[in-house]
């Protein structure tokens, strides 16, 4: 049976939603003032931005989504009070080969270590493999991002590539890892989890 009863954009504590152009810029601007978060999320240099700049970025982003057709972008919200807590993205999709890159972040330190990232990745992977029908998902992570590495392992990702010394931060060079998960591996993994829950 086709599973149309299980909501694709809703889990226990969070849900995926579109951008709120009125309320979100202020929240996301705050995240850019947290250099630790920005260094986990981006390889571009961290820089504090204003709400107005984030608002512009959203407009650019929505235009890019419409034109390039290889990007899906979700805002992560807490179900309890609807506040913005992070974002989840599938980007650089190559439709002919069925692969794309997943990326997510929980913006405020208070919202981390509560299982939100795990719930978000579960929804993002279901979207990638059961809605977009991708063959594989990739993720790029810096060697110092231990939280992300643990999360990817938990979901069955394999570390496939070590791009030695690709990043320069704090006066030294760091490796970048590329992780990969195949559709069939995700299915096996999801089934094993479902059994455990029963």
């Amino acid at each position: 049976m086709l599973d149309i009863q299980t909501q694709m954009f809703e889990s226990q504590d969070i849900r995926f939603g579109p951008i709120d152009h009125e309320k979100d810029p202020e929240v996301e601007a705050k995240w850019t003032h947290d250099s630790e978060f920005m260094r986990l999320m981006e390889t571009n240099p961290a820089r504090p931005l204003s709400a107005a700049m984030i608002k512009k970025q959203y407009e650019k982003l929505e235009k890019q989504i419409e034109e390039d057709k290889n990007l899906y972008h979700f805002m992560i919200r807490a179900k309890a009070d609807d506040r913005l807590i992070g974002k989840a993205v599938i980007q650089w999709i190559e439709w002919a080969n069925g692969n794309g890159f997943v990326r997510l972040g929980i913006g405020s330190a208070d919202d981390r270590r509560k299982g939100y990232g795990s719930q978000a990745l579960q929804m993002l992977l279901r979207f990638a493999f059961a809605e977009l029908n991708l063959f594989r998902a990739s993720a790029i992570v810096a060697e110092y991002n231990e939280g992300a590495i643990a999360l990817l392992h938990k979901f069955g990702f394999t570390q496939e590539v070590c791009r030695r010394k690709s990043l320069e931060r704090d006066g030294r060079r760091w490796d970048l890892y590329v992780f990969g998960l195949l559709n069939e591996e995700w299915r096996d993994h999801a089934q094993a989890w479902a059994k455990e829950e029963r």
């Binding site: 571009n44 496939e160 590539v161 791009r163 030695r164 010394k165 690709s166 320069e168």
Partner: protein, 189 residues
């Protein structure tokens, strides 16, 4: 000082849009050339469109993150291919991609010579710390050439491309500045 644009078999130049577009139209028809170079579906662009795209590029000028060379043989001064660099100035990493469109010149050392010349440019002129590239597992000729140039295989992205209904890995390689310098010293002895 070394000549940055002259190797043992080839030299780097920049073709006029006219010549480049004519050759491109011919090269893009070659399925093997396309599939060795690119994971996206093949496209046949008109000579007019390619020319216009190049003219626009010249008008705008190259960005500081972007380098592009046309490649000619030293022996017959024949235009045979191209080489592009995408540079991350913050983390000092350069991504390289190259192609030889003239298939009767494959497997004759031209690609290796192009890559060696490019490495010299990346490390000795641009001051990069690292150079990266990707290729497909069904391209052992490229793999051998890149290994000869000192690139190390850093991993397989499993089953990343689909060709004729079958899936193949993408291979990722890299060389660090100190590895390149070591090779240079070894060559001089």
């Amino acid at each position: 000082m070394r000549d940055l644009f002259r190797g043992e078999l080839v030299r780097f130049t920049l073709e006029e849009p006219e010549t480049a577009a004519k050759a491109d139209v011919r090269w893009q028809r070659d399925t093997e050339f396309h599939r060795l170079a690119d994971s996206n579906p093949a496209r046949l662009n008109s000579e007019k469109k390619i020319k216009e795209w190049m003219e626009k590029q010249i008008e705008k000028g190259f960005k500081p993150e972007q380098y592009f060379f046309s490649v000619r043989t030293l022996a017959e001064d024949k235009y045979i291919g191209f080489l592009g660099l995408w540079v991350d100035l913050i983390h000092r990493e350069a991504w390289v991609g190259l192609g030889i469109g003239e298939r009767d010149l494959w497997s004759k050392g031209y690609g290796t010579d192009m890559m060696k010349l490019c490495q010299q440019y990346v490390f000795a002129e641009l001051g990069m710390e690292r150079m990266s590239l990707g290729l497909f597992e069904y391209n052992p000729r490229a793999l051998r050439s890149y290994e000869k140039c000192g690139f190390r295989l850093e991993g397989h992205s499993r089953q990343e491309v689909m060709r004729e209904g079958k899936r193949y890995d993408a291979l990722w390689m890299g060389i660090l500045r100190e590895e390149w310098l070591q090779m240079q010293n070894g060559d001089d002895k």
